[in-house]
């Protein structure tokens, strides 16, 4: 299921946030949206989820316009893991995962045995079965992120939209979460669209990067083409050294400002 965005304009409260944004995510591919704070990354993700109304241009998920779909149909198409998920205190990991089955449960009905089985399977795949009965407020940061992924997985949507899945995680848990997403993408043929702050991490995992700056696409393409020292300097105001890593994907390192602190 591909995601296609063409010439997208979005205003929030009368303020232009996205202008003329286009991107293509082929079915089963992983695209990462990068860019400085306030560039409009999260808004782009929300437009793909059909949560904000475009002012102009078109968004297509599997050929459908998410904004015009009913919430239930939309939720069967795109699953969402937000940057700051609300984790209701006291709710168990299992019940939270079961929320992912909402688009399949009759509105005033209750979940079926199949819904419970799908939720249990999602937990199993993310090694969370042992935590099924634990309340959300008693999880570590890494566990929390996995639980949010489990809920998205239980949604069984072909497209996964992740907003900053690695924020607030240490380097080991960042790798763990990204490896998990990669495994799910490979095994289930999921199409992944993620925003991400860490440029090296983005370059390691995504097939393609889209660099947003000031609400416009500044560059897009394979990581090696987008992540150049010039682009990072121009759009993030950072001095970095870019070198190809062992597998040819770019690795960024910050350069200390000369003449400061000496």
């Amino acid at each position: 299921m591909s995601v296609s965005v063409r010439g997208l304009d979005v205003d929030l409260e009368g303020r232009p946030v996205l202008r003329g944004v286009s991107l293509e995510v082929p079915a089963g591919a992983w695209t990462a949206v990068i860019g400085p704070n306030g560039a409009g990354k999260s808004t782009l993700l929300r437009a793909v989820l059909g949560l904000v109304r475009p002012r102009g241009g078109a968004v297509r998920v599997a050929g459908e316009d998410p904004w015009s779909l009913t919430p239930r149909r939309r939720a069967r198409l795109v699953a969402y893991a937000p940057q700051n998920p609300n984790l209701p205190p006291g709710m168990t990991v299992f019940d939270y995962t079961l929320l992912g089955r909402s688009p399949y449960i009759p509105l005033l009905g209750r979940e079926s045995a199949r819904d419970r089985a799908v939720a249990a399977q999602a937990l199993d795949r993310l090694d969370l079965t042992g935590l099924a009965g634990r309340p959300l407020d008693r999880l570590s940061g890494g566990e929390r992120q996995r639980v949010v992924l489990a809920r998205a997985l239980a949604q069984q949507a072909p497209v996964l939209a992740l907003d900053e899945p690695t924020t607030a995680l240490d380097i080991g848990h960042q790798q763990q979460v990204m490896d998990l997403v990669e495994r799910l993408r490979r095994d289930d043929g999921l199409t992944v669209l993620t925003t991400i702050h860490d440029l090296t991490l983005a370059g390691q995992y995504a097939d393609a990067l889209v660099l947003l700056s000031g609400g416009r696409v500044a560059a897009s393409g394979p990581p090696g083409e987008v992540l150049t020292a010039e682009a990072v300097g121009a759009h993030f105001g950072a001095r970095v050294h870019v070198a190809p890593g062992p597998d040819g994907r770019p690795v960024l390192s910050l350069e200390r400002s000369r003449g400061e602190g000496r």
Binding site: L49, Y80, F94, S102
Partner: protein
């Protein structure tokens, strides 16, 4: 396996709640100025069941006390308590705030205006119009707050503006009520006793009057337990899970406000039930609204039945206003809850 099951009401807590309610109601039927024999009361009640014929041995006078005075009052107390508690739970789900109360959006102040208006204008007659006016006033207050909140909050975040609109409407209507009350100081006593709340109106026609609205409200609320659980992750995430948050919120608010209006119409303003009872339920049985809604209904019914029993026996032959009893218990409890909630991570 227990962990593989969704949060839902299990038979044991349900049975306990039903038993507590039945015990409270039986106690309330037995205690009063006219001492009724327990066995006779139970037999007389059983006699009213379909296909059951028992000779209660109660005198005609006692039967009258039981069926025309005590039973309607006990039932009304249970209904009002259940309505307030389930409405409070509904409001808490919609606002994702455990301290939300059924009067949050101006139901109390609106009902106050309605009741005061009728008492002041039709002062020389006993007024069956008071319940009707309170009912209309409560719904009117909520509608005003909702209308104001959704106009002012267009494009912004919904619930915060709604709460602010509720505060504004409440204080505005309270000032209208005070003005009306000022205009006719000799009715102060009646207005005041309405505000303090009570079940003095209890009779069968009163029960019949609110029954249809109460039934619709309660059934609607109980059906929305799972959806309120989904809503607990916030509007945007709920939308990404296929829920139309605005529609669920409007439906639950309408049903909870209808329940509140029914309660206010027949009993005046009874505070704290709507906050205290859902809290106790959450503590004892779990936080899912599939559990909180039905158990609040039963728990609120039991709580108000007992509160009314206390109110009419502790200073017998006098009567403490019901609102005073619930606030006396509820006030200190509220502080305890606040202390316990403080320090827990709130979104």
């Amino acid at each position: 396996m227990r962990t593989r099951e969704a949060a839902r009401l299990r038979p044991l807590p349900l049975a306990v709640a039903v038993l507590v309610l039945l015990a409270a109601m039986l106690a309330a039927l037995l205690v009063g100025p006219a001492g009724l024999p327990a066995a006779g009361v139970v037999k007389a009640l059983a006699d009213r069941l379909p296909f059951v014929h028992v000779d209660s041995g109660l005198a005609a006078v006692d039967r009258n006390v039981l069926f025309e005075l005590r039973l309607p009052r006990v039932l009304l107390g249970a209904v009002v308590g259940g309505l307030l508690a389930v409405a409070g739970a509904g409001y808490q789900g919609v606002f994702r705030n455990p301290l939300a109360d059924p009067y949050l959006l101006g139901a109390a102040a609106g009902a106050g205006v309605g009741a005061t208006l009728v008492i002041v204008v039709l002062s020389d007659r006993p007024t069956p119009a008071v319940p009707l006016a309170s009912f209309a006033g409560a719904l009117g207050g909520v509608a005003l707050a909702y209308g104001l909140g959704s106009t002012a909050g267009r494009g912004g975040s919904g619930t915060a503006t709604l709460v602010l609109a509720g505060v504004a409407v409440s204080s505005f209507l309270a000032s209208v009520q005070a003005f009306l009350q000022q205009a006719k100081a000799e009715e102060l006593q009646r207005i005041y006793s309405w505000i303090l709340g009570g079940l003095g109106l209890a009779d069968w026609p009163t029960l019949a009057m609110i029954a249809p609205y109460a039934a619709v409200a309660v059934v609607t609320l109980l059906l929305h337990g799972r959806l309120l659980d989904v809503l607990s992750v916030g509007d945007e995430e709920a939308a990404s899970l296929g829920l139309s948050a605005a529609r669920v919120r409007l439906t639950v608010l309408a049903a909870a406000s209808l329940a509140t209006a029914c309660a206010v119409a027949v009993s005046g303003l009874i505070g704290f039930v709507g906050v205290v009872v859902p809290h106790v339920v959450r503590r004892l049985a779990g936080g899912s609204y599939r559990i909180v809604l039905p158990l609040s209904l039963l728990g609120g019914a039991a709580f108000l039945t007992v509160a009314d029993l206390v109110g009419r026996t502790i200073v017998a032959p006098g009567e403490l206003p019901l609102g005073v009893v619930t606030a006396f218990v509820g006030g200190p409890f509220f502080v305890l809850v606040l202390r316990a909630v403080r320090g827990r991570a709130e979104p």
